[in-house]
Amino acid sequence: MNRAVRLRRLLAASALLTVLGPAVGRGADAAEFSTALIPAGTYTPLLRSVKDAPAVSVAAFRLDVRPVTNAEFLEFVRAHPKWRRSQVSPLFADAHYLSHWAGDLELGPRALPDAPVVRVSWFAARAYAAAQGKRLPSTAEWELAAAAGYTRPDGRNDEALNRDLYAWIARPTPEIVPSVSGAKPNFHGVRGLHGLVWEWVEDFNTAMVTGESRGDAGLDRDLFCGAAAAGAKETNDYAAYMRVALRSSLKAVNTTSSLGFRCAQDLP
């Protein structure tokens, strides 16, 4: 039995105890179960300008084991009226914000309670995270956690993972986003980083610098085409390219039918 399996069994057992025990799960127990510890590591940016460091050190942090669900986001908008669909400022979310919900406080048939919430803006995702005392993960943190395979911390050659990932990318976005429970946990016990929805990161607006200070017109040449030719680390990592392209194309108010988020926390 490998470590991941043993860890998961241990977690499942402790969860069972928590649920059945007299002190019903809250506090540290719950935090440890709904979030996973991502050990310190190194993130190698896919594309970088000539001045960027080749690798970024990432400190250990905790990451939610799954994306935020419709049910959870509903609780949030219930408590924070300014984030309801009918009340949100156009400054903080575009016109499609939560448009798949049946109403301000009603999920309806197109938003399963335990499916990742989508059609949320970066502002809304951050507000949700802040309300939980959490934050969005940085690009480096997200990519570090997502680099794991199903059974190993380095998923690059994890055939099962790659097969699932590319199958997902090839499928059109489903009309109704499926439940998070169908997503397999990776080595860290984190589910749905691949194969469910795309996810917001805190620093999405660093992905592509528009109007670079040393010449506005140099954007594509300096940061995309040039870097793609010279600086790309894994030319076969097509999904990672898609994430870079998506992040760089987004504005903070945007919402899409396949873009959700999850929260992260610093270690205490």
Binding site: V5, R8, R9, L11, A12, A15, L16, T18, V19, V24, G25, R26, A30, F33, S34, S49, K51, D52, A53, V65, R66, E72, E75, R78, A79, P81, K82, Q87, S89, P90, L91, F92, D114, W122, F123, R126, R135, T151, S181, K184, P185, E202, D203, N205, T206, M208, V209, T210, G211, E212, S213, R214, D216, K251, A252
Partner: protein, 206 residues
């Protein structure tokens, strides 16, 4: 491999459900924040002042952008150690100020917010103010990373710190009306002074 995973899912859901129920003593719906704000004169739907971001000025005093309400504002992001674009941005703002009609000139707030959240502390910004001879109409702000990032996102500014410590950033100058709504934006350097001044002049009190 499969079994523990399958076991894990429903348990997670169950536990989370319990946690949510147990840890969420939702008060009987807060007596509408919306209406209280309305009474106090809520910011408009397009006002940047709705942001929760908080800053500190170069005297170390806390500043909410909403405190600028009622004044025309020129806002730009910069960092004080910037060797090329930022000094020009500041010079651009000085030039725009010169183009304003006399009454308005003393009323407009020129706000510089640093995205170098580590190095541009209030004392460093204070030194920058002195070096550049910026008077009281200039407001120099420091903020936590999350606050600066939120403001940048609201303005549409993208920026990134490079390995050498410099920042690659958009050169964006934004004019806000008295309600904090964006009425004019200019990208690039060294031109567009007249347009920015005209956008401000349109905000003059008649």
């Amino acid at each position: 491999m499969k079994t523990p995973s399958l076991l894990y899912g429903p348990l997670a859901a169950l536990l989370l459900a319990t946690t949510v129920l147990a840890a969420d003593p939702t008060p009987a719906r807060p007596k509408d924040e919306c209406c209280k704000e309305q009474a106090a004169g809520a910011f408009t739907k397009a006002s940047l002042y709705q942001t929760d971001a908080r800053f500190t000025d170069d005297d170390g005093r806390p500043v909410a952008l909403g405190s600028l309400r009622g004044r025309p504002v020129v806002l730009t992001l910069f960092y004080s150690s910037c060797g090329y674009a930022c000094p020009m941005l500041v010079s651009d703002l000085v030039r725009i100020r010169e183009l304003l009609p006399a009454g308005l000139r003393d009323e407009v707030a020129f706000v510089l917010v640093s995205f170098d959240v580590v190095r541009d502390t209030p004392p460093v910004l204070r030194a920058y103010r002195e070096t550049r001879h910026l008077d009281a109409q200039w407001i120099l702000l420091h903020g936590a990373d999350a606050d600066v990032r939120e403001l940048a996102a609201l303005l549409g500014v993208k920026y990134k710190q490079e390995a050498d410590g410099n920042f690659a950033h958009s050169n964006l100058l934004t004019v806000l009306n008295r309600e904090g709504e964006v009425v004019h934006q200019r990208t690039g350097l060294k031109d567009g002074h007249a347009e920015a001044a005209a956008a401000l002049a349109a905000l003059a009190k008649r």
